[in-house]
């Protein structure tokens, strides 16, 4: 069963039709990459999955988007949406740790959702930091401000922050755009490790990254999902002409 399915998804920003009849299915415990030129709607699509578009004025969404069989577009009640955001976490392009200590950053999600306290909280913070390979570097520096970390560490911290609340899905919106190639590679390794436990969807404008890291890839253009399928096939034998042109660098 697919983790997330979308059927006939249409999204408007005011009069601008940003997502046009998008339908797809995301496999659990796999990495799905969304690629496409700037403005094609891939970030917008990502934000549908955790209802982050709600904060934008003038947004209208229509269609059906299901997470584990439940239509998340139908949620009207704030509490349900908050729970959705716990289950579907998001990592942003520019790492955005809170202006708090490393410990408090990771503990934040658990505190607001009242998931753990005291000893258990500390243990889970440690586990999350271990999962993103920050524990050894920071175990004696948990009280340090998160703003004193390097960009790569900050991005890992943001991922640790999500993991601490045991999500099902992790959304990554161009997570390596702000990072250098070495850091990028390390984060990619982390993603490959994480997919064993989580479903991962990554938006990237870096085709090579999509090819390296993902199991399935979707190509979007001007609001439409042009093609979707196994990554190796998309990159070697794309069916749509637009896909082929994008992949060979005709435009981007």
């Amino acid at each position: 069963m697919k983790k997330i399915t979308a059927a006939g998804l249409n999204l408007h920003y005011g009069t601008f039709h940003a997502l046009i009849d998008v339908s797809l299915g995301i496999e659990p415990n796999k990495i799905t990459a969304m690629i496409g030129p700037s403005g094609c709607g891939k970030s917008t699509l990502l934000r549908v999955f955790n209802r982050m578009n709600d904060a934008i004025e003038g947004v209208r969404v229509a269609g059906n988007v299901e997470l584990d069989g439940e239509n998340i577009l139908a949620y009207r009640d704030d509490e349900a949406i908050d729970i959705l955001r716990r289950k579907v976490g998001m990592v942003f392009q520019r790492p955005n740790p809170f202006p708090l200590s490393v410990f408090e950053n990771v503990a934040f999600g658990m505190r607001i959702h009242k998931l753990a306290r005291g000893r258990e909280l500390e243990d889970r913070v440690a586990e999350s930091l271990k999962a993103v390979l920050l524990w050894d570097a920071l175990k004696d520096k948990l009280k340090r401000s998160a703003l004193s970390l390097t960009l790569e560490q900050r991005q890992r911290l943001c991922i640790a922050r999500l993991i601490a609340v045991t999500p099902d899905v992790i959304l990554l919106d161009e997570p390596c755009s702000s990072l250098d190639p070495v850091a990028t590679l390390k984060i990619e390794e982390l993603m490959l490790e994480l997919k064993k436990r989580y479903t991962i969807i990554i938006v990237t404008h870096n085709m090579a990254q999509a090819a390296r890291v993902s199991d399935e890839t979707g190509f979007m253009l001007l609001g439409r999902l042009v093609e979707f399928g196994e990554t190796s096939r998309i990159f070697t034998a794309p069916q749509a002409k637009e896909t082929e042109e994008y992949i060979t660098g005709r435009y981007g």
Binding site: M52, D82, L84, R85, F92, P99
Partner: protein, 288 residues
């Protein structure tokens, strides 16, 4: 030729900037000169430590403790009223209010700041004071409490405007991160936004307090002008500012009383300077 013109303009602008510093320094020196000669004939310890302010008795007593306490009472109480209300209002405007309400509130608060303090004092004297007297069954409504109410009201615009600024400049990325984790609006506000905006808010509070300490007319009209150490907030008090304003017109130039008032001015100057300096430090930290 253009070089020369540039040079002249730069020097001129520099001069204008320096002038501000010079004025402040001159004022300070003037106060110092008039006040310090006072300490020649009257012990500074008796001045700062003395309880009784009886300038017209024989021999005159110039103890300003009751005045300092008066100023303190009124200021602290006003702060206790204005700070929670001000910060809450700022939060409301910055985070919760819909666009149209935001604009209305900001305009109203700016209007509040424009009301002359003597007008506020007058209105307070005529409406608030009798109300306080009746509602709380006091011998008089002229008290530190009434003064604090009006002064809190006057400090509100400053606190609200600058706090709101500080709250608004908290980076959106922090809020986005919190919301994406499933935080409610309130959780985002008190766990992320307020701590992040704290330096700015503290700066706003100090500026508001600075305004209150220096307030004269309204205070004179409302606090009762009794130069004694108050037993409760409902007693009349006298502030340092009111003392200077009330008595300056009646002293003989060059007399000890005259000089004593300058000495009070000196104390006020120093206090206000420290408060504003602290405020500035916080605000600079916030802007970083």
């Amino acid at each position: 030729m253009k070089r020369l013109f540039d040079w002249i303009i730069e020097r001129f602008i520099f001069l204008c900037g320096i002038l501000a510093v010079i004025f402040v320094a001159l004022i300070f020196l003037f106060l110092l000169r008039e006040g310090v000669s006072f300490f020649g004939s009257y012990s500074p310890i008796k001045f700062v430590g003395g309880i009784y302010w009886y300038p017209t008795s024989d021999p005159p007593q110039f103890g300003i403790i009751s005045l300092i306490v008066g100023s303190l009472f009124v200021t602290v109480l006003a702060a206790c009223l204005a700070i929670p209300l001000g910060v809450a209002t700022a939060l409301f405007i910055a985070e919760i209010a819909p666009r149209w309400l935001k604009d209305v509130l900001k305009t109203v608060i700016e209007l509040l700041a424009a009301i002359p303090s003597v007008v506020i004092g007058f209105i307070g004297m005529v409406t608030l004071v009798p109300l306080v007297r009746q509602a709380l069954n006091l011998p008089t409504g002229l008290s530190a409490f009434s003064g604090a109410l009006m002064l809190g009201f006057m400090a509100l615009p400053t606190i609200v405007t600058i706090s709101e600024d500080a709250i608004r400049t908290v980076p959106w990325s922090y809020k986005e991160g919190a919301i994406a984790l499933g935080a409610t609006r309130w959780q985002t506000m008190y766990r992320i936004i307020l701590p992040a905006a704290l330096p700015g808010i503290l700066g706003a509070v100090m500026l508001g307090v600075g305004r209150v300490i220096g307030e004269t007319m309204a205070v004179m009209m409302i606090t009762g002008n009794a130069a004694h150490i108050p037993g409760s907030v409902f007693d009349p008090v006298r502030t340092m500012t009111a003392t200077i304003a009330a008595e300056m017109g009646e002293t003989v130039r060059g007399s000890p009383h005259y000089e004593a008032l300058f000495a009070i001015g000196l104390v006020l100057f120093v206090i206000t300077f420290i408060v504003n300096f602290t405020a500035d430090t916080f605000l600079r930290k916030a802007r970083r």
